[in-house]
């Protein structure tokens, strides 16, 4: 049983594609195997004949356990059969000839046994014996690269640079160099080929003052989720989560605070929403994150983009580190940014590089709506107005100020449960603002 997912410890044969006695070529699928992650195709590394199936459909085998014997037609396998029977089928060497073809195409299988090294380069070398120093280097270097290429894309520097300059996704290319190295001519031929709808790519902002971040490698599972869902709904597979929030305590808090403030510094409901969202974000790193294809970028502070309507449309100035700022400070900043936005005086660093956004149409009488994610952010909150609404509390119908909030989530990063947990924190804090002190 080969390793077909990074974390699998055993695999269940879903079905054998080849039957005993069937011959196959290299890269042909031999069987489908259910791993802890998905059903993977197990493909042949070299051609041969499937002589004996040891684990049938539905049976489970540990990593390295013999599941079949392959070889040449008519080969005597009685000794092997005896051996696998006597040691419980553990680690019969024949089986290491099969590997995870399905995965290796996209990212190289984790424990993929390497095929024999490619033939030593130029056959045109003189037939006379070579002095030691010259030919030594080539095969050694090749085998080194072999062992180092697991899961890595090999790209020559100029090819990487040309691809980046031309917005070509390197993963869409097939390398024609040694060990599949993507070289200049591969990029050149891709440039000549008609464009075939490249996957959307977003350059992360590097605005000074923007949140620091760390990039973590995207897991295979995340990548599959990302590509499948994106295929289905467009570049950003979005789903929506709606929550009802009782705003009475938050409104009371606002009243208390505003009683101490001068008219021009009073805070709005939205200022509270921004602060609470920011505080919730730092507790839920996956929501305060950005999908970057091979990595997920986790931001350390919550830089909140606040949608502001202006004559030509809208713009989202950014409140940096809103999780660290007080209501009044946030309020003052938003007022200042909104004024600048309306006067078209916003500097680029003031409206780019948010880690999350909030759009509030409550003051325009909207009860509930959905907002569109502003990439590369992963989420946006659509905030409706807080309106007196009859609700049932302890079996009684009572009136509470209810605010509906809908979060649009980028499913490449945020799963339903992840988003729901974030909204839970957000709701709890708004309903019991004292929790903000915890």
């Amino acid at each position: 049983m080969p390793k077909l997912s990074p974390t699998m410890e055993e695999g269940q044969i879903s079905r054998w594609v080849k039957n005993e006695g069937d011959t196959f070529e290299a890269n042909e699928t031999l069987a489908e195997v259910d791993t802890d992650k998905a059903t993977m195709e197990m493909t042949a590394l070299s051609g041969g004949t499937l002589l004996k199936i040891l684990k049938g459909g539905g049976e489970t085998a540990a990593l390295g356990e013999a599941i079949a014997i392959i070889g040449q037609k008519g080969e005597d396998i009685s000794a092997l059969l005896a051996e696998t029977a006597s040691n419980g089928g553990a680690k019969a060497p024949e089986i290491t000839a099969a590997t995870a073809g399905g995965e290796s195409v996209s990212n190289g299988a984790e424990s993929k046994p390497q095929p024999a090294a490619p033939p030593p380069p130029p056959a045109e070398k003189p037939a006379t014996p070579q002095p030691a120093a010259v030919p030594q280097t080539a095969p050694a270097a090749v085998s080194q690269r072999d062992s180092g290429s697991n899961g890595r894309m090999i790209v020559s520097p100029i090819a990487a640079r040309m691809a980046a300059d031309n917005g070509i996704d390197l993963r869409s290319l097939t390398g024609s160099g040694p060990n599949g190295r993507i070289i200049k001519r591969d990029v050149e031929s891709a440039l000549q080929a008609p464009a075939k709808a490249p996957a959307a790519s977003f350059t992360p902002s590097t605005v000074v003052g923007a949140s620091p971040f760390r990039d973590e490698n995207t897991s295979q599972m995340r990548r599959v989720i990302a590509s499948r869902l994106a295929e289905s709904t467009g570049p950003i597979p979005t789903f929506f989560l709606t929550v009802e929030i009782e705003m009475d305590n938050a409104l009371a808090l606002r009243k208390q605070i505003n009683a101490t403030l001068t008219d021009e510094t009073k805070i709005s409901v939205n200022d509270i929403v921004v602060k609470v969202a920011a505080m919730s974000l730092v507790k839920h790193p996956f929501v305060n994150a950005s999908y970057q294809d091979r990595t997920i970028r986790f931001y350390e502070q919550a830089d909140i983009g606040v949608a502001v309507a202006i004559d030509e449309g809208l713009i989202t100035p950014v409140v940096r580190g809103a999780n660290l700022k007080g209501f009044a400070e946030i309020g003052a900043e938003i007022r200042d940014l909104a004024a600048k936005a309306k006067a078209k005086k916003l500097q680029p660093e003031e409206y780019t590089g948010a880690t999350f956004s909030i759009s509030n149409l409550g003051m325009m009488g909207i009860k509930e709506f959905t907002a569109i994610i502003n990439p590369p952010e992963s989420g946006i909150l659509a905030v409706g107005g807080a309106n007196p609404t009859p609700v049932v509390r302890d079996g009684q119908v009572v009136v509470r100020n209810i605010m509906n909030v809908t979060m649009s989530c980028d499913h490449r990063v945020i799963d339903g449960a992840t988003g729901a947990k974030f909204l839970q924190t957000f709701k709890q804090m708004l309903e019991n603002p004292v929790l903000m002190l915890v």
Binding site: P129, A138, I158, R161, P178
Partner: protein
């Protein structure tokens, strides 16, 4: 322009500089009455006499020392080593004295001296007489290292070396003394030290070669052009130190591929240095790992067939270019 051998171009340079500056003199084993072991100094003793062309005993350390002292006292000696292999005996004078005197005297004593002679392999002269020592000398601050590959370069660079106020290691190649080329007749024709020359323009691959590997690289380039329609650029740095790395980097930025051919051994060689500097200056432009061809890591064999196999060749250069071009 006159067509001269490298040997005669060097002779012309020496003669012109002896005539031009009374402080210039030539010294070494057999340079005077015998006209030089390789006839580079032919006729000079007859024309200029004992004062300007001085025969020495077989004492490399001794006459190198006299040369350094003479240079400190204001003369401009041109010291011939019968081959650079023998300079190893005088290495203390070259490295510890010539190279460091200006620095250690606080700028009081420049050492305007040229050490010259053939470097690298010859024809079956075996292990002790076939060494290419440029990387060794280029490693020491205070020395310039010059390696011409054509008659014109030989003349222009030797004249610049003699006029230079620093010690210059001037390395010729015994196999190349008879190679002919056009040489400007102007007595003030010089080639500045530290300037590379593109010997052949190309777009797909750069070969950096020096001394004996330059003609090999040019031949390889023609063959590759013919067989594969791949356009190879050949660059001769001409001066190893100071090295004109900009010309090389600009070429690699254009071609994205680099092969370096040299006659020295590979470990810590000039090719290793060029490789580092190109990686440093043009990493993002490379399409393939840089490939170098050096002499095999073995003392030079005496046997003719083994000697040929140990040395860089047109075939090996062609194979290396094909490899970096993914052909």
């Amino acid at each position: 322009m006159a067509v001269l051998t490298i040997r005669d171009a060097l002779n012309q340079a020496l003669r012109e500089e002896i005539l031009r500056d009374e402080n210039v003199f030539v010294m070494g084993e057999e340079v005077a009455e015998y006209d030089g072991a390789y006839k580079v100094t032919r006729g000079l003793w007859k024309e200029f006499g004992n004062k300007r062309v001085v025969d020495t005993p077989i004492t490399e350390l001794g006459f190198a020392s006299i040369g350094v002292g003479a240079a400190m006292a204001g003369l401009r000696p041109v010291i011939e080593f019968m081959t650079w292999n023998f300079s190893i005996l005088a290495a203390d004078q070259i490295i510890n004295h010539a190279a460091k005197m200006l620095y250690m005297s606080g700028g009081q004593f420049p050492v305007p001296i040229v050490f010259r002679g053939p470097n690298g392999s010859a024809y079956q002269v075996s292990s002790q007489h076939s060494q290419a020592l440029e990387a060794f000398y280029a490693n020491f601050p205070g020395l310039k290292v010059v390696m011409p590959s054509t008659a014109a370069d030989a003349k222009g660079l030797l004249k610049s070396s003699i006029r230079d106020n620093n010690p210059v290691i001037f390395m010729e190649q015994e196999r190349m003394y008879g190679i002919k080329g056009e040489v400007p007749e102007d007595e003030d024709f010089t080639i500045p030290l530290g300037v590379a020359e593109v010997k052949r323009e190309g777009t797909d691959c750069t070969i950096v070669a020096r001394s004996m590997t330059v003609p090999l690289a040019l031949q390889a380039a023609e063959q590759i052009q013919k067989d594969f329609d791949v356009s190879v650029e050949v660059i001769d740095p001409r001066t190893i130190k100071p090295l004109d790395i900009d010309t090389i980097i600009n070429s690699v930025k254009k071609t994205n591929r680099l092969v370096i051919a040299e006659e020295s051994h590979s470990f810590a060689s000039v090719a290793a240095e060029v490789t580092y500097q190109v990686m440093d200056g043009a990493f993002d432009y490379l399409d393939a790992p840089i490939k170098r061809l050096s002499t095999a890591e073995t003392p030079m064999p005496y046997a003719k067939n083994l000697e040929q196999l140990a040395l860089p060749s047109v075939e090996k250069i062609v194979a290396a270019v094909k490899e970096v071009c993914y052909l």
